[in-house]
């Protein structure tokens, strides 16, 4: 009898990535607002044209929640609570989800779609990839003006991510739609829609 080594208990069970039959892209931005942490999620086609947009209410953890969730709070908010909810409630499913923060990379463990992130800016560093944490893999692609990252736990997604990005129109820059998402969230706040979602 041969013992098969089990993965460490802390490692997530890597869900097989959904086949990228949809060329659509999902842009998920989660950020801190005055009312708490909230998310905006835009699904576009491969030309970058909007297909669907979803907005979350702002989540403001209270003191007890902050204490009890401890250091897991940020990732929980970004991935399980806001990210996963937004993606699951959106009717148009993407073939690839792009996030703009490292905290949201863990979303990949919650959904069956490859997740890639924009590498954070490091103003003092000439090479943004050099400053990445150990559990993150950095790479570049012509469709993004900033380097891309994915979770090292899901390194096997990379060929699929690159194949999906190759199908994206050349006028699209992956960092640009996040500007639109934030403008839309700002507009929602101005028109009181953000409060309605809450």
């Amino acid at each position: 009898m041969t013992d098969t080594p089990l993965p460490p208990a802390s490692a997530p069970q890597p869900a097989p990535a959904a086949s990228v039959n949809s060329g659509n892209l999902g842009f998920l931005s989660i950020f801190q607002d005055v009312g708490g942490v909230l998310g905006g999620y835009l699904v576009t086609n491969t030309w970058g044209r909007p297909l669907e947009f979803r907005l979350s209410s702002a989540v403001q953890p209270n003191k007890v929640q902050q204490i009890l969730y401890g250091p897991t709070l940020s990732e929980y908010l970004h991935t399980e609570l806001i990210g996963k909810t937004l993606i699951e409630k959106t009717a148009t499913q993407p073939g690839l989800v792009i996030v703009d923060s490292l905290a949201a990379l863990g979303l990949r463990a919650q959904i069956n779609i490859p997740v890639v992130g924009l590498a954070p800016e490091h103003p003092g560093s000439a090479d943004p990839l050099a400053a990445l944490p150990a559990d993150v893999i950095g790479f570049t692609h012509p469709r993004s003006s900033v380097p891309l990252v994915l979770s090292a736990k899901f390194a096997h997604d990379r060929p699929e991510i690159e194949a999906a990005l190759d199908k994206v129109d050349q006028s699209v820059d992956l960092s640009e739609p996040f500007v639109r998402v934030r403008e839309a969230v700002s507009e929602a706040r101005k028109m009181g829609v953000a409060n309605r979602a809450a």
Binding site: T85, P177, V193
Partner: protein, 601 residues
């Protein structure tokens, strides 16, 4: 536990273990203090304590531990399958249809950064102030930037639009009612076509109608093939029965019709089953006359969006603008609105740019007013004709009308062109001399006249420059080949055009010289003629020569028109004076020393 049997027993028979029962206690009656097995001393029961006992565990709540989030979403129109094709693969070279120049990526500067390295501001459609539904506002806020879309890598275009043209597209796309009033030559056609193309791609519109003057339909067809090769279009045929089928049966997303056919098809155009997501009026000044059949038919078309294109939305009077807005946004301008309020009421729906404003790098337009002394024969004929004409007008007394004066003006202008007896022409001598220089330098020129007859005489005099003629007497089918030949044949140095036929819609930016052999009544028409050559794509300065016979009625008219020319631009800026831009009745009577005036009342 001696007192255990003294506890009230609960009816447990037939109950599940975790079911609760309500123990009825007469709190108002006398209660005994009962010993409890968990406590050393009997408890003193009070109402408050009994409530606490009934709500174990005995902890103070700290609030909810779980976090919740709500979401709200909006789905946008899906692009129809024919416009939702995957982008071209990166490895394949850009498609190059015959006769088109697709910009090569390698030739393009990086348009995402300026020379200082700062990211450029993207040009994007923005929701208008009157877009109140959040979903509609989102649709425009979430559109991708226009810059980069047309750089030749993705969507086929003959050349990359200028930034101001992208701003024009960003202006048109979100507007239900819009007047694109760019100066002629700035590419209103391309901006409109690209706006429609993007909206078809996005699924914002499913069908559109484009109304244009008959001579321009071919030009629109050609431009559509260039700027939107993936958008099918159909031109309404001349045959009424075939047109009927086009109105009722055709599913073509974009249809083109001329004003005359549209007017004849008034019933079908206004039919409730007819509906267009966009109706575009080219040369929208055609509906400046309120109550005209053209204006009424155009306004009757059931539609969601109304776009008007005109480089001269105010040809004669500020009311022209109000009448165009009766189509663009019915009800926007109340009846009898003072001209000074027009600008306030319309400014958010008008976009007007001039070449000076947007094209600082465009070659200049050099205006050369050439005052020509009449030849002796012309001078004699002119003086005699004017003298006799004035006598005749004065003899008319109060039966005189403006038409009588017009007849004299026309007669004198014709003499300024050619002496009726000898055929002498000082202007023609000058023109032949100028054309020698034009041809010697390998350039091309356009000559405009109000009449066809002078053009025929000019053609004979310019024979060695292989002149081509383009005017109302040239059959429609022959006109396009003439333009093609003028462009392609290096030996053809001049084309002779009438203002009526050649002043609008034609792209002759390969021409560097324009001669106005005689002057039109309205400076706006002259500008249109000049801008056949001085338009986007022009790489060299354009010299405009305006022939004016000195000491004649031509000079007097020119002085009046020059004084009024600036009013047009003033109205679209800050002017508040309602002034006629062409010659009004007083102007015409003032051309001659006549005392007669029409009888009023």
């Amino acid at each position: 536990m001696p007192h255990e049997e003294e506890f009230p027993t609960l009816p447990t028979e037939g109950m599940a273990q975790d079911e609760h029962v309500i123990l009825e206690i007469d709190l108002l009656g006398e209660l005994d203090a009962l010993p409890h097995p968990r406590f050393e001393r009997p408890l003193t029961v009070s109402v408050r304590d009994s409530k606490m006992l009934a709500n174990p565990p005995w902890v103070r709540p700290l609030g909810r531990l779980e976090l919740n989030v709500q979401t709200e979403g909006w789905k946008f129109p899906a692009p129809p399958p024919e416009f939702d094709k995957p982008p071209p693969p990166r490895s394949e070279p850009a498609e190059k249809p015959a006769g088109r120049r697709v910009v090569e990526l390698a030739e393009l500067p990086d348009d995402h950064t300026d020379p200082t390295g700062k990211p450029k501001e993207h040009i994007r459609p923005r929701p208008t102030a009157d877009t109140v539904i959040f979903k509609d506002r989102l649709l425009y806020l979430l559109q991708p930037p226009l810059d980069g879309l047309f750089d030749g890598r993705s969507l086929g275009v003959p050349f990359e639009p200028f930034p101001y043209q992208l701003e024009g597209i960003a202006f048109l796309m979100p507007r239900q009612g819009a007047l694109l009033a760019d100066e002629m030559g700035l590419g209103k056609t391309a901006q409109t076509i690209l706006s429609l193309r993007l909206m078809f791609h996005q699924g914002m519109i499913r069908n559109a109608l484009l109304v244009a003057p008959k001579p321009l339909i071919f030009n629109w067809s050609r431009e559509l093939k260039l700027w939107a090769p993936d958008v099918p279009f159909e031109v309404f045929p001349a045959d009424p029965e075939l047109r009927r089928a086009t109105w009722h049966s055709s599913n073509c997303p974009l249809k083109l019709i001329n004003y005359e056919s549209l007017t004849r098809d008034a019933d079908m155009a206004a039919h409730p089953k007819t509906f267009f997501d966009v109706v575009v009026l080219d040369e929208a000044q055609r509906i400046k006359t309120p109550g005209s059949k053209t204006a009424e038919v155009v306004k009757s078309i059931p539609r969601a969006r109304s776009w008007a294109l005109s480089g001269t939305p105010v040809e004669n009077h500020p009311d022209d603008l109000a009448n165009i807005f009766a189509f663009v946004d019915p009800g926007r301008i109340p009846k009898d609105t003072p001209p000074k309020q027009l600008r306030v009421l319309t400014q958010d729906s008008i976009l007007r740019r001039t070449k000076d404003l947007v094209q600082s790098d465009m070659p200049p337009k050099l205006i050369r007013d050439l005052e020509i002394e009449l030849s002796p024969a012309q001078k004699a004929a002119y003086e005699l004709a004017e003298k006799e004409g004035v006598v005749t007008l004065n003899a008319l007394g109060d039966t005189i009308t403006v038409q009588h004066v017009f007849q004299l003006v026309m007669r004198l202008k014709q003499i300024c062109n050619f002496d009726p007896r000898t055929g002498e022409s000082a202007k023609l001598e000058q023109l032949v001399s100028d054309m020698e220089e034009v041809a010697a330098n390998g350039h091309k020129a356009i000559v405009f006249s109000q009449w066809v007859e002078p053009l025929t005489a000019i053609a004979a005099a310019l024979e060695k420059f292989n002149p081509l003629q383009y005017h109302g007497r040239i059959p429609q089918a022959e006109r396009t080949p003439i333009l093609d030949r003028f462009k392609a044949d290096p030996s053809c140095h001049v084309i002779l055009m009438s203002y009526g036929t050649g002043s609008v819609g034609l792209n002759l930016q390969f021409t560097n010289y324009v001669f106005l052999f005689d002057r039109w009544w309205n400076p706006a028409i002259e500008d249109q003629a000049i801008n056949r050559a001085h338009r986007i794509g022009q790489k060299h300065p354009v010299t405009v020569t305006r022939f004016i016979s000195e000491n004649t009625v031509e000079k007097r008219i020119a002085d009046i028109l020059d004084a009024k020319r600036k009013v047009f631009n003033d109205l679209l800026a800050d002017a508040d004076k309602p002034t006629s831009l062409g010659l009004n009745e007083d102007d015409i009577f003032g051309l001659f020393d006549i005392s007669s005036r029409p009888k009023r009342g």
